[in-house]
Amino acid sequence: MTSGVLNLVLKRLAIAVVTLLIVLFAVFFATSMLPGDTASILLGQAATPEAVAGLRDAMHLNDPAILRFLRWLLGLLHGDLGTSYANEMPVAALIGGRFVNTMKLAGITTLLSVPLALTLGITAAMLRGSLYDRTVTIVSIGVISVPEFMVATLAVLLFAVYLKWLPALSSVNEAHSLTDLVRIYAMPVITLTFVISAQMIRMTRAAVIETLSTPYVEMALLKGASRSRMVLRHALPNALGPIVNAVALSLSYLVGGVIIVETIFNYPGIAKLMVDAVATRDLPLIQSCAMIFCLGYLFLITVADIIAIMSNPRLR
């Protein structure tokens, strides 16, 4: 009985691994298409052709691409991310602290947006068609339809320019007290919460509405159960799987969101690091950052799929 679910989950995990390999391959090849010869960029204009040729040899740049890909993959398995071209530091050292910063940002956003979005989504579905429901729906469609940087600029205009509550830029190093910390994280977290919650509200609302239209909920209505009992006791337990699925899927929007938010607020996370690396064409750094983002994204959508499988009682 459970072996069916186990099989499906294992199959999903296998697909995730294959996908990961294809994604790593794509990232590697996209970055190796960068124009310009890495060796001559590193050595500068004054380099002799012999020195360039020597460095190319030393860096294995003359090997076929597939060999370089395998070597890179092997390095990854050993935890060796390579060395940054721009400042000769190990990529792992560059990423370390910044990764923690980004995870903090993502973590705080998750803690804030999940309860908020679930409450709004479920109540909107309960009061379907009311003014409240329509307001929530229109605002969330609005937020989804505009670029993230516009949400960020509007937040800056509102909180920093008109209300003067918060600073427009954040710099993590200046945090000395709790109020400093709140002031630093407030703007990026508010922006990200808006972006993530909008998706989550829409999906949650849809999931609950779908359950509310099932025959057993109608039965509960006919036997005279109150509206809140109908939703909380009859519909919600069955909508839980789709809702958790919606949460995991929405969190994958964090990946796109942090890239914009870290740039606009000058927040020292890995997304900012990556955008800067793209500007300086720092190949190993781009590869590693892209890989981390893809891993996170793949993890979240795989979790969402597995939850969808597990929550379907017909498969259990």
Binding site: I15, V18, T19, I22, V23, A26, V27, A30, T31, M33, L34, P35, G129, I141, G142, I144, S145, V146, P147, E148, F149, M150, T153, L154, V156, L157, A160, V161, Y162, A168, S252, V255, G256, I259, I260, T263, I264, M274, V275, V278, A279, R281, I286, A290, F293, C294, Y297, L298, I301
Partner: protein, 283 residues
């Protein structure tokens, strides 16, 4: 009550009923399309001319939307920006949907290993976050207009493929498909004359949604400084170059954002308010 409200907010026209919101949204889209086509003839100032002594100037007569960070006319720049944002996005979405739908129909009709390989590969492409994909590819191939169009198209092919394949697989099981196969029709005939006419309406709705995604991604890339390069400027780039106006809340930074929002929200609303018959996948 619902029926009464629906009747009051819908108008009947050419046999279909249209909602007021849908009509307004369609008009906004039409307006931006016309502006994109005729922008060079209607802009009051050349986009490179410095016409204001002050930077981030307010709205006033002659400079209806104020001036930008160099004192250039913002109205002209936004109108010309429409050209790049709408033009590049439209070109990219056309390529993405055409390739995706063709591949999807072929995969559904032929089935077998071609279908499996194509689906697996495109699903894997789909699990690269779009903004990240854009960043990496733009870093690799640069941000000339053709490169941007191709990058954006490639990013959204997997989604178009998945959508079209799912629709085409349903049609593929119909009796008329079996009949056509028995008649010995070619694949080109099957997808062109049997499948396409049956999925074209949902595919067009999907085209609109994907257009919105592409506008958002292009604006996002340009905002990061990795999209269109100066002196050309689309709406995302206009926000980027005038971001210094934020503390003064000058129109220079607000207007391009509003332009993007008006276009994307209109397309979303138009699709949401299309007559049921056109919008539904199983229509």
């Amino acid at each position: 009550m619902t029926i009464a409200r629906a009747a009051s907010s819908r108008r009947s026209f050419l046999g279909h009923s249209y909602s007021l919101v849908g009509v307004v949204a369609a008009l906004v889209i039409l307006a931006w399309t016309l502006i994109a086509i005729f922008a060079p003839y209607i802009i009051p100032h050349s986009i490179g001319d410095i016409v204001d002594d002050d930077y981030f100037g307010p709205m006033r007569q002659g400079l209806w939307l104020g001036s930008d960070y160099l004192g250039r006319d913002m109205l002209s720049r936004v109108l010309m920006g429409a050209r790049y944002t709408v033009g590049i996005s439209l070109a990219a979405v056309s390529i993405a949907c055409f390739s995706g739908v063709m591949l999807g129909m072929i995969a559904a009709v032929t089935g077998g290993w071609l279908d499996t390989c194509l689906s697996r590969f495109l699903d894997a492409m789909n699990s690269i976050p779009s903004k990240l994909f854009g960043l990496v590819v733009v870093a690799a191939v640069g941000s000339s207009i053709p490169a941007l169009i191709l990058t954006l198209a490639v990013i959204y092919i997997p989604g178009a493929y998945r959508f079209a394949r799912a629709l085409a697989v349903n049609i593929n099981t119909m009796d008329f498909m079996t009949v056509a196969r028995v008649r010995g029709e070619s694949i080109a005939y099957l997808i062109g004359s049997e499948i396409l006419p049956n999925i074209i309406r949902p595919v067009l709705a999907d085209f609109g949604l994907r257009f919105v995604f592409i506008v958002l991604l292009l604006s996002g890339l340009s905002f990061l400084g990795l999209g269109l390069q100066p002196p050309l400027a689309d709406w995302g780039a206009l926000v980027r170059e005038n971001i210094g106006a934020l503390p003064f809340a000058a129109p220079a930074v607000i207007v391009p954002s509003l332009a993007i929002a008006s276009l994307t929200i209109s397309v979303n609303l138009l699709i949401d308010n299309l007559p049921q018959k056109i919008r539904d996948r199983d229509a």
